[in-house]
């Protein structure tokens, strides 16, 4: 440690103590939270309190003697803080070490202290909960008592087990000499990047100490960011968020209608607003509560139309440089000229590599900003009729209103423990209440030219475009402007058809417009669905959407599930997720929920699909009109396949037991019902529907019986309806970390379906290379372009001979995708679908995602294929190649994507070589696949690897939960 200090100037000991040498109350802890405690200690010392903080610098091995010597001999009570929870243990790790060290020292007689300190343990900061000086103060106060609470928690309000400490949130140790600035922005507007630069500028160009911390929400599209910046003449130890800001910037005008951005503004603070309105009229556009705060706190109010400056200077929707310039101009942290010079220096440093054009446009933006910055004269009284909107509508269910609502508005930390579901199961169907309004433009349907093909409905990643056919009489209550058209189905001709967009849930990705095959005969750019500004349409289309959602769904057994056109009429049970705008994964998941509806059970590996699939505050999986929906759970990368297999085994066991009970109770239930339940044919929607009717009748009859068997049967009767178990995850799971488990599960012969959302990188963590990454593509950990080829997971699975395997690309053929999903689910054994999923990490405009998928197929890079073991029994080749021979070179597909072109720019020679090899990969793959597809059945014995044979030996459970 001394050598480290000599080299770095930073001095650490095994334990560092700060506080009164004769402290009576001491907190022991490690990590960054010590900063908050140190500030508290400093303030309490000034008030004459004898307190201290012992910082653990080296945890393992725990140096007990050094700990005892670092601790003041006067200590009477100690609070040991752990940022972890070990259920079932006597205490958390550091607490146990401290207790043991003190005890052993006393036993060994190695301490000369006459006092036996009282030790309590506590937890703080779990799940990124805040830990503030107010909480540290509460701990010191607790140590004063004669019976301090042991095993306490701090930072949450535990009104269930009552282990939490109360604290006074008004207690603050903020240094008045430190500037505290808060910036509310969108991920896409560049706010965070600009603030990172600002902090560097201040740190480098002034004598100030500087600190920056950035808070993100759980969404990938339209995510809100809050930047917390502190700078000042004294060292900054404040390891907690700013709650008293001397500068607040709101970079998005629309935030004011939903978020309390001025809550943390100190009296007299500066408020900078980016708004598309002039200084003379902005006041009238603010909600009343915002006006009141500005007046009451006497805020200095500045305004800029940042987007106007951005448009005029070629910056598009990036207002980062513009808002940064405003911050420096207003805050005065540097003389204006020097600040501008420093900003430009930072721009050159950040963007210099990206070329002179980018540097120049940022410079121009800086130069144009100040003339647009205005100070607003604040009127004496609030006079607005606008009100801040609640995070969710009042009509939302109680849990959504009372628990999810506060989380949406950023006040989740204030919720008491009792607000949480007892078993951790969160209700589904909650994403529909979070109206995010993030799209600048939304699609608008032209019913006159639409051919009702359903492609837009199929690709919409957020399920905001839906179609229904319904009785014309229902239009009697339709809002004005609600569109309908005669359905282009012979069997529905007497009904009406509507394609409706949810304006407040749309992300504006434009995939729908890109896949629309219709063009107006009089104006080629006009399609059957076209983007238009959202704001003027919001109110009207929201009313239309509300009306639309109340129209009845078409019966599932009235539709052909293999037709894309009919699939558009199947209700999606996955909607409005936080996935990226234009996500290539979610259309596949939505399709799963449409095809298999409420029978779906999903085991979801960690990755993007677990984040947008089940992250707080809201859940995109939802319920149908009968209140039923998919069951979903997330597991780890390394065990998700086994986790899903467990779901299969559990469902099969439940079904087997239910069948046994039905058989035992047959006399009381009636032989006909019992026989119907036991012999149900459930391969079709009609068969499933009939079984559901029997189930309803069964439940009625069981209710009249009072026996342990009847009660058991009631609990598990739902398992008599065939379940569809799906193991879902990305390539990081299936190709890499979960590959071993997946292989075991595929080899088990059990009836599970696997959907691999193949983005060819670890997307959720920012695009790290996986074994699915293709040769020549750049990814993190493959910055020189990946040298090895992509693993052929399909061929691996095919080698079993008993696994249904498919490679699909919705943009290559949506019909093929739908067909494979149905075949995989129907196959009575393991199925694997590898779905090409375009991704933001590929580096191109996501509205072109489906076009790129098509190019991938045309180039032969992503051949569409199926391997169906059942075809063998029919004397056919199980290997079916469903796409044509390559018709464009690999380069024509690949060089539309930055993951390939950036290598060509940075290292042209390597890119040329890798491109050549990648083309060889494609050629070789095509030769292998086409040869396999041309193989006669004689090459593969009908008996080898027969799925039925595998199931007979490996699947001991009776067929109650089986598919056929």
């Amino acid at each position: 440690m001394d050598r480290f200090a000599a080299r770095t100037g930073r001095h650490y000991r095994l334990f560092d103590y700060v506080g009164a040498p004769d402290a009576e109350r001491v907190i022991v802890m490690m990590g960054s939270g010590a900063g908050a405690v140190e500030e508290t200690v400093e303030q309490l010392l000034q008030q004459g309190e004898k307190v201290g903080l012992l910082k653990v610098r080296l945890f393992r091995p725990f140096a007990a003697e050094a700990f005892i010597s670092a601790l003041p001999k006067t200590v009477q009570s100690l609070a040991v803080l752990d940022r972890t929870k070990e259920p079932g243990s006597l205490g958390e790790p550091l607490y146990l070490d401290v207790v043991t060290a003190l005890s052993e020292a006393r036993t060994a007689g190695s301490t000369d202290s006459q006092i036996v300190p009282r030790v309590i343990g506590g937890r703080y900061g779990l799940a990124s909960k805040e830990f503030t000086p107010a909480m540290a103060r509460a701990i010191f106060d607790e140590l004063k008592g004669s019976k301090p609470k042991n095993h306490f928690t701090v930072g949450i309000h535990d009104d269930v087990t009552h282990t939490s400490l109360d604290y006074d949130p008004k207690f603050s140790t903020e240094d008045p000499g430190t500037v505290r600035a808060l910036f509310y922005g969108l991920g896409s507007d560049g706010t965070v990047g600009a603030n990172k630069n600002s902090i560097k500028i201040i740190g480098k160009n002034t004598d100030n100490y500087a600190q920056g911390y950035f808070v993100y929400d759980s969404k990938k599209a339209g995510s809100v960011t809050v930047s917390h910046l502190r700078f000042g003449p004294r060292p900054i130890r404040s390891s907690y968020l700013i709650t008293r800001a001397s500068f607040v910037a709101c970079h998005q005008f629309q935030f004011l209608e939903r978020m309390d951005v001025l809550d943390c503004a100190e009296p007299g603070a500066t408020f900078l607003l980016n708004a598309p309105i002039g200084a003379d009229e902005v006041w009238g556009h603010l909600p009343q509560s915002v006006q009141e705060v500005i007046i009451q706190k006497k805020l200095k109010f500045y305004l800029i139309d940042g987007y106007k400056v951005a448009r005029e200077t070629g910056m598009g929707n990036r207002i980062n440089t513009i808002m940064q310039t405003c911050f420096f101009a207003i805050s005065g942290v540097l003389p204006r000229e020097q600040a501008i010079e420093a900003i430009k220096g930072a721009i050159r440093e950040t963007y210099g590599k990206r070329g002179e054009a980018v540097v120049s446009k940022n410079f121009v933006a800086v130069d144009h900003t100040l003339s647009h910055l205005q100070q607003v004269t604040v009127p004496a009284a609030a006079n607005s009729r606008l009100r801040v909107l609640p995070p969710v509508p009042e009509r939302a269910p109680a849990f959504v209103r009372d628990v999810i609502g506060p989380m949406i508005s950023g006040r989740g930390d204030d919720l008491p423990v009792s607000a949480m579901p007892v078993d951790g199961t969160f209700p589904t169907g909650t994403a529909m209440w979070e109206k995010r309004n993030i799209a600048q433009q939304i699609p608008v349907w032209d019913e006159q030219i639409c051919i009702q093909c359903g492609k837009c409905v199929l690709v919409c990643p957020h399920a905001v475009i839906r179609a229904k056919v319904y009785d014309a009489l229902l239009l009697g209550n339709a809002p004005e402007g609600f569109k309908s058209e005669k359905p282009r189905w012979r069997e529905f001709e007497s009904l009406r058809y509507t394609l409706q967009v949810s304006p407040e849930d749309c992300t504006g990705c434009e995939l729908c417009v890109e896949v629309c095959p219709v063009k107006s005969k009089s104006e080629a750019k006009h399609k059957a669905i076209n983007m238009q500004p959202q704001a003027p349409l919001r109110e009207r289309e929201s009313a239309n959407w509300d009306f639309f959602t109340h129209l009845p769904e078409t019966g599932r057994n009235q539709l052909s599930h293999s037709q894309v056109k009919d699939v558009q009429l199947l209700e999606p049970l996955f909607e409005f997720s936080g996935a990226c705008a234009g996500c290539g994964e979610t259309p596949y998941i939505k399709l799963l929920t449409q095809l298999f509806g409420d029978r779906l059970m999903i085991a979801n590996a960690t990755g993007c699909s677990s984040i947008y699939g089940g992250n707080l505050p809201t859940t995109p999986y939802t319920l149908n009109s009968l209140g039923r929906g998919p069951a979903w759970s997330n597991s780890l990368f390394e065990d998700n396949a086994e986790f899903g297999l467990g779901m299969r085994l559990a469902v099969d066991q439940q079904a087997a037991y239910a069948r046994e009970l039905v058989a035992r109770l047959a006399a009381q239930l009636g032989d006909s019902l019992a026989s119907g339940l036991l012999n149900a044919e459930q391969s079709s929607e009609a068969g499933i529907e009939a079984q559901r009717e029997r189930l309803a009748e069964l439940k009625k009859k069981i209710a009249t019986l009072d026996s342990p068997e009847a009660r058991d049967l009631l609990a598990i009767a739902d398992a008599l309806v065939r379940k569809s178990v799906w193991l879902v995850g990305g390539d990081g799971w299936a190709y890499d970390i979960g590959a071993g488990g997946l292989d075991h599960v595929l080899g088990s012969g059990m009836n599970v379906n696997v959907l691999v959302l193949d983005t060819e990188v670890y997307s959720n963590t920012g695009g790290q290379m996986s074994k699915a990454t293709p040769r020549g593509a750049v990814a993190k950990f493959a910055t020189g372009g990946k040298h090895a080829g992509k693993k052929d997971l399909a061929m691996e699975a095919i080698s079993y001979g008993s696994v249904y395997v498919a490679r699909v690309a919705m943009g290559g053929s949506d019909t093929h995708t739908v067909k494979t999903f149905l075949e995989a689910e129907a196959y009575n054994g393991p199925s694997l679908i590898i779905a090409y999923s375009h991704c933001i990490a590929h580096g191109y405009d996501m509205s072109q995602g489906m076009a790129q998928q098509k190019a991938a197929v045309l180039s032969g890079y992503w051949p569409l294929m199926r391997y169906d073991p059942e075809l063998r029994a029919a004397g056919k080749n199980p290997f079916q190649l469903d796409s044509r021979a390559p018709s464009i070179p690999f380069k024509q597909y690949a060089y539309q994507e930055a993951r390939y072109t950036m290598l060509a720019r940075s290292n042209p020679e390597a890119a040329r070589e890798l491109l050549h090899l990648a083309q060889e990969d494609v050629d070789r793959q095509w030769r292998v696949y086409s040869s396999r597809a041309g193989t006669t059945e004689a090459a593969e014995s009908p008996d080898s690897g027969s799925p039925t044979a595998a199931l007979v030996t490996l699947q001991p459970v009776a067929a109650g939960g089986e598919k056929k």
Binding site: G190, N764, G766, V778, C839, R905
Partner: protein, 335 residues
């Protein structure tokens, strides 16, 4: 001994055939091959300032897309050390070509910004270019822009570039001017050392099935030569600048016609793309045979011999000739 040497932009050339800007000239091996085949000079592919800007913007938007939005993925693509943006790659091509061949290497530039033309021209000179061809490839789609302004801008940029470099500067222009001859004179007066007639514009096609505009890239055909011959023949003698024909030069006859019209050189692209670089050698061999047969001593001897000034009937280049052609066509049809 037949002398087929010439000069162009004051640069000595061993033959009147110049390989004009095409993807072939991106490769140093091809450039050497062109020299070996007898090309008098080579024009490198155009450096498009707009493309450099677009590439810079593309890298920026690719690296920025989705960044700083989600705690676990603050960006999605690795930031590499360099992206070879800007003109570096092009300037390197000039340098290497200059080292490898002894024939003149002419750089070609298409700028967008007022300062861009002059800046990049200066860089090209520094890199060793023997001359610069300003490729004025602009399609004025805005109906509010007046032709006089366009013409003035072209002349201004020639002056700017000339003021910034000391090597010769040629201008490659299109025939879409109301008064082509006057435009040539204006550019001449602005200091252009050469006029290259004419640029070929890629004209987008319509796909009536998909209702899409599709790019259409067609190679030049020999028929296109006539327009060039016409204007070279008219301009010859009116301007100090050297004249070059580009577009439709495929055969020895085409080269001969070009020179007889008044050109110092004839530029070839499509023929090389179609027949390979060795086509230069066979055209030159044919050219020499023709000159021998017709007892010409040198290329210079025939330059301008069929220009408007030199022919017996200057009106052949004017309206009267057009009317005669029409009436003869009508007579043929009615016969």
């Amino acid at each position: 001994m037949i002398d087929i040497t010439t000069t162009y932009l004051g640069l000595p050339m061993k033959s009147p055939i110049v390989a004009s800007a095409s993807p072939l000239c991106e490769s140093l091996e091809n450039i050497r091959h062109m020299e070996d085949a007898g090309a008098g000079g080579v024009v490198l592919p155009s450096l498009f300032e707009e493309q450099l800007d677009l590439e810079s913007q593309a890298v920026d938007s690719d690296l920025s897309r989705g960044s700083e939005s989600f705690a676990e993925s603050l960006d999605y693509l690795p930031d590499l050390h360099t992206y070879n943006l800007g003109a570096d790659g092009y300037l390197e091509l000039i340098r290497k070509a200059r080292e490898r061949v002894s024939i003149p290497v002419i750089a070609s530039l298409n700028g967008v910004s007022p300062g861009g033309w002059a800046r990049y021209a200066g860089m090209m000179e520094q890199a060793g270019a023997d001359a610069i061809e300003l490729n004025i490839y602009a399609i004025i789609t805005d109906p509010n822009i007046e032709s006089a302004d366009v013409e003035r801008n072209y002349c201004d940029l020639v002056r700017q570039v000339k003021a910034n470099v000391s090597i010769p500067v040629a201008v490659k222009l299109s025939h879409f001017f109301t008064a082509v001859g006057n435009m040539g004179k204006q550019l001449d007066a602005a200091g252009a050392n050469g006029l290259v007639l004419f640029n070929r514009f890629y004209q987008p096609d319509f796909d009536i099935e998909s209702l899409e505009i599709v790019p259409s890239l067609t190679l030049s055909r020999p028929q296109e030569l006539l327009l060039r011959l016409h204007w070279v023949a008219i301009l010859y003698g009116w301007v100090k600048a050297d004249l070059a024909v580009t577009g439709g030069v495929h055969s020895a006859e085409d080269v001969l016609k070009s020179v007889m019209a008044g050109a110092h050189v004839a530029m070839m692209t499509s023929a090389l793309l179609q027949h390979g670089i060795d086509h230069v050698a066979s055209v030159l061999a044919h050219l020499v045979r023709w000159m021998e047969k017709h007892e010409y001593e040198s290329i210079n001897q025939m330059r301008g011999s069929m220009s408007q000034r030199s022919v017996e009937d200057p009106a052949a280049f004017e309206r009267g000739n057009y009317m005669r052609v029409l009436s003869s066509y009508t007579l043929q049809k009615t016969r």
